[in-house]
């Protein structure tokens, strides 16, 4: 008896469609991953250009380059673009490229939704950036959009809210897709506790995104109705409470911080064992630490609001809850260091960025602990110390991990090795300049320089000059990153399938570059 069995696994390789429409209509996870990563890179430079304007204005005291309203727009939109346009899409791009290959799935579970969730983003950010050309200019109330200040924005206000909604819808669709893919499409034998940590961290990140995005959506919609529909959710004059907006915003906002860093933990947990040539120390504890951080992220939101006013018991609760986050985060740093301990270490570019991440993210973590101390926070709040803290976490944390990931998996994606010399040069110039940029901001903050101001007292001049010089060098040095990627895409030394001697995981069993359709037959995981 002959038997033909038709299942989802009966795929045969066929290449992509040709031309521009390939990218518009694609449902292939690798294409969509590439689109996300390119979009994130463009947004990184858009947000970076805004940072250059900020640092140019702050190079000297007094008003030099832009007017204060535009300066405030720069700080606001820089944050929105970097968070929602650069870091989150970059991680989603990495998830699209890597999760199916890491769990042995042929594609994402909902490929059409995957296409929609990407193509919403260019419209969302075009809309956000178009507000600069509207009466009243772009949003200038800070990325937190606290009322009543945010309600004083001009004609661009509803467009900004709509842009945030669109970006949120995109994030939710991306997250649902990732959750469904991980839970339903793992290869036989790929149990949850055998999944690579990048997959685990993304599963928990997607959980956080799904759990908090409706809160942001509700908050910004209530801002909209307060402005246009006569409601008073946040207007004290109408019986509302503007402080409630802050509570709601930060109930979303603090998990958002972990959304921006948990996938980075997964990336570093993949890279460090490869270049230490040892298995990851404490895999299970890494999983539980990630879940603990996710849980704690829901109960610490008011540490952003210590100075707003709350009962002492509340301040104590949020202070201690925040400090507890140091425990699972410390477990992670301990495990990475233990993985490196007595390993046969080499320092190729991905490892340099990973080690840089561990050291500088830890600096950002420690300054976070300082900010968690409620009485001390009354001194630090809304100063440049806070700016230094979150840039150490987000730039030398999240963005360094994205760069590490790019160097690590680029040979797999393109089939070509990147230029190692240029990669190392990129790392060292970036690392020196980023510390020149952000470390002096600790001093400025401790000396009392407030954040989100275009002008400052003359005693802050010297460290602002240093910081701006660091900023310009860091900004320009990122052009090297683009050149290294372009060079690797165009050619270079051919990469082997394994690429890195110590690499482990299903993606390394595929050819470099992988065919358009991978794992048409599910691999067996032992």
């Amino acid at each position: 008896m002959s038997t033909a069995t038709a299942t989802h696994d009966d795929h045969h390789d066929h290449g992509p469609a040709k031309g521009l429409m390939r990218w518009v209509t694609t449902t292939n996870h690798k294409d969509i991953g590439t689109l996300y990563l390119l979009f994130a890179l463009v947004m990184f430079f858009v947000g970076g250009a805004m940072a250059m304007v900020i640092r140019a204005e702050l190079f000297q005291p007094g008003l030099q380059v832009v007017d204060p309203q535009f300066f405030n727009s720069m700080t606001t939109v820089h944050a929105l673009v970097m968070i929602f346009g650069a870091v989150m899409p970059a991680f989603t791009g990495l998830a699209n490229w890597l999760i199916p290959m890491m769990i042995g799935a042929p594609d994402m579970a909902l490929p059409r939704m995957n296409n929609f969730s990407f193509w919403i983003l260019p419209f969302a950010f075009s809309l956000l950036l178009s507000t600069f050309f509207m009466a009243g200019g772009g949003p200038a109330a800070g990325w937190t959009l606290y009322p009543p200040l945010s309600l004083q924005m001009g004609d661009g206000f509803p467009f900004m809210i709509f842009a945030i909604h669109l970006a949120g819808i995109s994030s939710i669709m991306g997250s649902i897709n990732i959750v469904v893919t991980i839970l339903n499409m793992r290869a036989p034998g790929m149990t949850l506790m055998k999944m690579p940590l990048f997959v685990w961290t993304w599963l928990i990140t997607a959980y956080l995104l799904i759990a908090t995005m409706p809160v942001l959506a509700g908050a910004v919609t209530m801002l909209l109705t307060d402005k246009f529909a006569g409601t008073s959710f946040f207007s004290a004059a109408g019986g509302g409470d503007p402080v409630m907006y802050q509570h709601i915003f930060w109930f979303f906002g603090h998990p958002e911080v972990y959304i921006l860093i948990l996938p980075a933990f997964g990336i570093i947990s993949a890279i460090v064992p490869t270049f230490a040539r040892k298995p990851l120390f404490g895999y299970s504890s890494m999983v539980y630490a990630t879940a603990s951080i996710a849980f704690l992220s829901f109960i610490v939101w008011a540490h952003h609001m210590f100075t707003v006013g709350m009962p002492v018991v509340g301040e104590l609760f949020f202070m201690y809850a925040t400090m507890m986050i140091a425990v699972p985060t410390g477990v992670k740093v301990f495990n990475w260091v233990s993985t490196m301990w007595k390993g046969a270490m080499t320092f190729e570019t991905p490892m340099l960025f990973a080690v840089g991440f561990i050291m500088m993210f830890t600096i950002g973590g420690f300054s976070g602990l300082m900010l968690a101390i409620a009485p001390a926070d009354f001194q630090y709040h809304d100063t440049y110390f806070v700016v230094a803290h979150f840039h150490y976490v987000l730039v030398t944390g999240a963005i360094y991990s994205i760069m590490a990931a790019t160097y690590y998996w680029l040979p797999k994606w393109t089939g070509n090795m990147y230029d190692e010399k240029l990669g190392k040069l990129h790392f060292w110039i970036s690392t020196v300049s980023v510390n020149v940029l952000f470390f002096p901001q600790h001093f400025l903050g401790l000396a009392g320089m407030p954040r989100r101001i275009p002008d400052y007292s003359v005693q802050f001049t010297d460290w602002n000059v240093v910081s701006s010089i660091g900023g310009f060098v860091f900004g320009v040095s990122q052009l090297m990153f683009v050149w290294i990627i372009v060079k690797a895409i165009r050619g270079g030394e051919k990469a082997s399938d394994q690429v890195w001697e110590g690499a482990d995981g299903l993606e390394w069993t595929l050819p470099s570059p992988p065919p358009y359709h991978t794992f048409t037959e599910a691999p067996q995981v032992k």
Binding site: T5, L183, Y207, G218, M244
Partner: protein
Amino acid sequence: MIFLGAIAVPLLLISTALATQGLWLVLPFAGLELAALFTALYLVSHAAQRCQVVSIGDAVVTIEKGRDRGNCGDKGGPEERFEFARGWVKVELAEATGRWYPPKLWVGASGRRVEIAEFLAEDEKVELAAELHRLLSA
């Protein structure tokens, strides 16, 4: 379901708490999102288990449709089972009539026919049709 519950419980708790404070607009967004998550999880887990087996015997061609991946009838047999006399079996491939109307593959005989491989891509249906033709004429 555990994952869905782990999201739904905290999200509905916080949304309801906010609603009691007058901030009710979070609740509809939470509901919509949970519905989307549930639908996606249900549809994919349902579709991921679909399986069809076409068995070509000396005298009979059997088509079994079921949901147990790897063996379409592992628990209590297949959901649907069709038998056709092999000598009369016809494999029909209706070509795509437009972008939104993909090709369809039928197997049938004596005035009855069953659509198979609905979940395969266009070129895969063509390949399967050719394979069935080859096996039936062997």
